[in-house]
């Protein structure tokens, strides 16, 4: 027989907290228990304009190679996306991940697991479960994880006296890639800004990051927290957007760019390609970006880079044209003068012409360093001209 007091106690302990938390279940491990929430996204799910299921290992391999990322890319179901919500962003051992969201492909479906601790003493159990899950995966993808999520979780493993679950899988931090691909065109590379601008995903009302710790503290201290449910949504969105943005970044480098693409994005991509083994592909992209219309000073940078890549590819006449344009540019362009001088010296073998260009450059050079470089080139050429006469 239950008396009223017992019944109320039961309600207080079980019913009230459960009503706050999204539907899930208590998982038990040798280190205690924690709370686990599952969600599944079907094979035809579109996140903004990206169909998640298009994600492929081959495309990711292309992307990572291009970005000079180390680490092998395993098959798709061995890749995991990860994002944590914490009790602060101040750094140090007093910062606890209370919600770890992960996403991965299981067949054609995308699955999300959210590991949640209902109080601090559930953390060891949660970490153990996470460790066991991570054993199945060979690549972890995060957004700013290199600086935040991974070292944070490593610290937590140490504190819980568990082995470091990130020792084996490789890690790919998408933030560095999005910065290189899109920063020129889109000031902010925050995940929420990019998901809106790049893949047209609108998440609706969202909890500001700064309020997340408070939402959790309210939950554990007062057992009520109106803001907590939105933290789960926020975290799930972060994980899915991370996957969708990865697909979009792969598209960026695997699909043929079109002339109608944003010229700044084309320029950014050209810069990435330029320093990869696939550097020749940057030439048409630079041309496309310049034709599409770039504003200064990016336009001048594009002309300069293109003149160098053209010379490297043996397209000397195009390179000379670009250098001539740069020399006429109101801002002094070292690359333009140097490039033109190189062309006249080596291709046209017109030393007088090369010397004249250098002299003009010397008159315009705006720094000691440029003066010095042009002068030494001029000196060397002068000697060479005398020898040849």
């Amino acid at each position: 027989m239950f008396d009223l007091r017992h019944q109320l106690e039961f309600l207080r302990e079980h019913v009230a907290p459960r009503s706050i938390l999204p539907e899930g279940r208590v998982e038990s491990t040798p280190l205690g228990s924690h709370y686990l929430i599952r969600a599944t996204y079907a094979h035809d799910y579109f996140h903004g304009k990206v169909r998640l299921n298009r994600f492929s290992s081959e495309d990711l391999r292309c992307l990572m190679t291009l970005m000079g990322e180390k680490g092998t890319v395993p098959e798709r179901d061995r890749i995991i996306f990860l994002d944590t919500e914490t009790t602060g962003i101040q750094g140090g051992t007093g910062m606890c991940p209370f919600l770890v969201g992960v996403g991965f492909f299981s067949g054609d479906e995308f699955q999300i697991l959210q590991f949640f601790i209902r109080d601090f003493d559930e953390e060891p159990s949660m970490l153990l479960a996470l460790t066991q899950l991570l054993e199945r995966f060979k690549l972890v993808i995060t957004y700013n994880g290199a600086a935040f999520d991974i070292p944070l979780l490593e610290t937590r493993f140490t504190l819980a006296r568990l082995d470091n679950a990130f020792e084996n899988p490789s890690h790919f931090d998408l933030l560095f890639t999005t910065r290189r691909l899109w920063r020129n065109g889109h000031g902010s590379c925050r995940l929420t800004a990019l998901e809106r601008e790049m893949i047209s995903f609108f998440r609706g009302p969202d909890i500001p990051g700064a309020m997340i710790p408070r939402a959790y503290f309210d939950y554990i201290q007062q057992k009520r927290s109106p803001a907590l449910p939105s933290v789960f949504t926020h975290n799930a969105h972060d994980v899915v957007s991370l996957a969708a943005l990865t697909v979009h970044a792969c598209d960026r480098v695997t699909l043929e760019p079109a002339a109608l693409d944003d010229p700044l994005d084309l320029y950014s991509l050209s810069r990435v390609l330029e320093s990869s083994t696939d550097w020749r592909r940057s030439i048409p992209l630079y041309e496309m970006a310049i034709a599409g219309g770039l504003s200064e000073p990016t336009r001048r940078k594009a002309l300069e880079n293109l003149s160098i890549v053209c010379r490297r590819a043996g397209e000397h006449e195009r390179s000379r044209e670009l250098c001539t344009e740069l020399m006429r540019h109101p801002e002094f362009s070292m690359t333009g003068y140097e490039g033109a001088a190189i062309y006249y010296e080596r291709i046209a073998r017109d030393f007088e012409g090369a010397l004249r260009i250098l002299e003009e450059g010397l008159a315009r050079a705006n720094s000691n360093r440029c003066q010095k470089l042009l002068k030494s080139r001029w000196d060397r050429l002068q000697q060479k001209a005398i020898r040849y006469e």
Binding site: T87, G88, Q90, G91, G92, T93, G94, M95, C96, F217
Partner: protein, 779 residues
């Protein structure tokens, strides 16, 4: 023989100079002894070093490296420290400057690393300058040992790094994992290392030695903080399963062992006998002559110190001058540079090169000056206390102290910077006109007979403890039954829980705030909050600094601020920005702030006759000011001020003067009050002498008992830090000495009525103060 701080055989002693110089120095000293302003002279004969053979267990590679440094024997204290440390003891070594203290810890630490390459050591220094000095020395050791390895085979390189705010971000990971010896400071340990201990697992798992150099600097508020940092460190070491041993070194203080034990919470062995030799030493006490007897004004001690330093420098005798503030340092450099240029030049003008040295100079410049001093290229240096600690500056022959440094220990440290292990050296203390300086310079015997001060800390000051308990919980969840200091931690934790900082889950307390608690705790908080004085007569320039507590009384609006004899009118006090704007003026009056300090006794903890100590509430407010005419002290006006009240709960010593006896003194009520305030003024200054504390660590207040007919006039001398830092109780115990000293100070002062050197410039105060002291003897 042993070595100093990496100072190898550079014993450029006075005897190395031309004989002419030595005799000229002796002549000069003889002359100085006759000078009327010299109030005391003390001769310390030379002492032979006590040398012993290398300990049997000393590693052969260390023997080789020592031999390479021309060290064939150790000083007795070095060998003793080695044996004790090898025996697993915590050791505190107290020996004078330049007695080879660093070997005391380097030998056992390096030997341990040679035996066990995983072993780690953490060296802590109070200043960055010291860290770099020691880093150089350890690098030499590391190199020497690598070479020695070649012969004997064996260990790998010993990695030595400093870790502080200047360590580049990209180098930090390497320091954390590779460094055998990490050199840092308590502030970095507090903010950078402990809250990130998981990045330092290699260090904490293998930490075998912690070296705490210049232990005596960890006193007062700073020391109380450091003691709590060690409580946190101990928890973290326990988590990683290490139990480091401590080696501390200290300048001479009265209670080094007690201080070491209080700071680290560990038992210590104490090595007090230095085996290092010392050269003969001549110490002079110099009191600038009185130029205005009525007001007790003396000739500027800065000028006098400059004259004395110049006299040595002109004889081509290298000298160090210590000043008590950055500003005085700069002034002295300027004076000396000027006068040496104008005066009779020595043969080689370069040899009279004078430089300043203080915090605020760039590290490179400091290194350059240190080198210049070692190789003798720089002959004269004016320094703040920055050079008081053991930075290697070679051997200078003369140390001139412009003003009493505030403590006996500090005075000996500074005098010790002149003259290393043999030869002859000179120390001159030039007194300023504060009561403290005047007492010391007029009682050299007291100074010489007195054991140096106590290093006092109060790690259980609740304000300090709470801050560190928060940091500790942030670093590692805090066990429900875990101890932390002397308090009932459970209660303190509950206090923190109420404020939402921590939360209990299971049997552990967790940090529940998105803040980083170490950021809001400054270890050296008391002196860091200064007001700067900006002169706006012409181009704005900063002419001085005033500490927070005295800013309201000396820099309030309309105050006349005296600086280097010049008068300035304060036209604006910007409290949030901590700035006072002043204009040069030529007025015939000065201002005296009217402060209102109300002390309420909360709890009496000890009583003996009219003397008490206990807890008090202090409310301090500057409410107005008087304009007083120079010379006549005539009151020519006044003004009201509306400045914020400063309130705190702290500990205090107080003495009660029975009302009847007080009122029967044959003076007018005003005169009696002046005497009471004057006595408080003298007592608080002298209390600093006995407690080895900064003047700002103590506050004083007088309750004349006017408000209530039953209350007796009372003088309070309290800890000027919320919660107290443990000064009041020792003061209560030392009261007889302090009162006797006050009587001596006041009766021997040459002024008529009272001057800044005794009871402050107040009419009749001197006589009445002595009468009150007399009265206290008979109750």
């Amino acid at each position: 023989m042993g070595i100093g701080r990496g100072n190898l055989g550079s014993m450029r002693l006075l005897t190395d100079s031309a004989p002419l110089q030595l005799s000229s120095l002796r002549d000069f000293l003889a002359e100085l002894k006759k000078n009327h302003s010299v109030s005391g002279y003390h001769y310390i004969p030379a002492r032979e070093p006590r040398l012993v053979d290398f300990p049997n267990s000393l590693d052969s590679r260390l023997r080789h490296a020592l031999n390479d440094r021309s060290i064939l024997k150790l000083y007795s204290h070095q060998a003793e420290a080695f044996e004790l440390a090898r025996g697993g003891k915590n050791v505190v070594i107290v020996t004078p400057t330049a007695s080879g203290k660093t070997l005391c810890y380097n030998l056992p630490v390096l030997q341990r690393i040679l035996e066990k390459p995983d072993a780690r050591a953490l060296y802590l220094y109070p200043t960055k300058a010291l860290t770099y000095d020691q880093l150089d020395d350890l690098m030499h050791w590391s190199n020497a040992l690598r070479k020695a390895d070649g012969k004997d085979g064996g260990a790998k390189e010993i990695a030595v790094f400093s870790y502080d705010g200047d360590t580049p971000q990209d180098a930090r990971a390497a320091v954390r994992s590779r460094s055998h010896v990490v050199l840092s400071n308590p502030d970095m340990l507090h903010k950078g290392i402990l809250p990130h201990h998981t990045k330092w697992t290699r260090l904490f798992e293998n930490l075998e030695f912690i070296v705490l150099d210049e232990l005596h600097t960890y006193r007062g508020v700073f020391g109380s903080h450091v003691a709590n940092i060690f409580r946190r460190l101990a928890r973290i070491c326990a988590f990683y399963g290490s139990r480091p041993q401590f080696i501390c070194t200290s300048a001479t203080i009265r209670n080094p062992q007690e201080l070491a034990e209080k700071i680290t919470g560990q038992p210590f062995e104490f090595i007090r006998e230095s085996g290092a030799g010392e050269g003969e030493k001549h110490v002079f006490f110099y009191n600038p002559p009185v130029v205005n007897k009525q007001l007790g004004i003396r000739r500027s001690y800065v000028k006098e110190a400059e004259h004395i330093a110049r006299a040595f420098l002109e004889r081509n005798i290298p000298a160090i001058v210590f000043a008590n503030s950055r500003l005085i340092t700069e002034i002295l450099v300027k004076y000396l540079k000027q006068s040496i240029k104008e005066g009779p030049l020595p043969e080689n003008p370069e040899s009279a090169k004078i430089v300043g040295y203080r915090g605020g100079y760039l590290p490179n410049e400091r290194r350059r000056i240190e080198r210049g001093l070692r190789d003798g290229h720089i002959r004269g240096v004016v320094s703040t206390n920055a050079l008081e600690l053991g930075i290697d500056i070679g051997s200078l022959d003369v140390s001139v102290l412009a003003g009493y440094p505030g403590t006996i220990a500090s005075t000996w440290q500074r005098i010790g910077r002149a003259g290393r292990r043999s030869g002859m050296s000179v120390g001159v203390l030039v007194a300023s006109s504060t009561p403290l300086d005047q007492f010391i310079v007029n009682h050299p015997d007291y100074f010489l007979s007195q054991p140096p001060e106590m290093g006092l800390i109060n790690p259980d000051n609740i304000h300090i403890l709470i801050s560190h308990l928060q940091c500790a919980t942030f670093e590692l969840p805090f066990g429900a039954d875990e101890p932390f200091g002397m308090h009932d931690v459970a209660e303190v934790l509950d206090f923190l829980r109420e404020r939402g900082f921590i939360h209990r889950a299971g049997n552990k307390w967790h940090w529940t705030s998105d803040s980083y608690p170490a950021d809001s705790v400054s270890l050296r908080s008391i002196s860091s909050d200064n007001f700067v004085v900006v002169e706006t007569t012409g181009e704005p320039r900063i002419i001085g600094e005033v500490d927070f507590t005295s800013a309201f009384s000396t820099l309030h609006e309309k105050a006349i601020y005296l600086h280097q004899g010049q008068q300035y009118y304060v036209h604006q006090l910007d409290i949030p920005e901590r700035r006072a704007y002043v204009r040069q003026v030529d007025s015939d009056y000065f201002t005296d702030a009217i402060t209102y300090t109300k002390v309420k006794i909360l709890e009496t903890m000890g009583t003996h006759a009219e003397h008490h100590h206990g807890e008090v509430h202090v409310a301090h407010q500057v409410v107005g000011f008087k304009k007083l005419k120079f010379f006549t002290m005539e009151n020519v006006g006044s003004g009201d001020l509306n400045l914020p009240t400063q309130e705190m709960h702290t500990t205090s010593y107080w003495v009660i003067i029975p009302r009847d006896a007080f009122e029967s003194l044959p003076y007018s009520p005003t005169e009696r009050l002046n005497g009471l305030y004057g006595l408080a003024y003298a007592l608080v200054h002298l209390a600093c002498v006995f407690l080895m504390c900064d003047r700002r660590d103590l506050g004083s207040a007088v309750d004349a008992g006017i408000e209530s007919a039953t209350f007796h006039p009372t003088i309070f001398i309290y800890d000027n830090f919320p919660g107290g830092i443990g000064l009041s109780r020792p003061l209560y115990e030392l009261r007889d000495q302090v009162l006797n000293a006050a009587q001596q100070l006041i009766s021997s002062c040459t002024c008529d009525d009272g001057c800044p050197s005794c009871v402050g410039p107040t009419i009749m105060a001197k006589e009445v103060a002595l009468a009150i002291l007399d009265l206290l003897k008979h109750v």
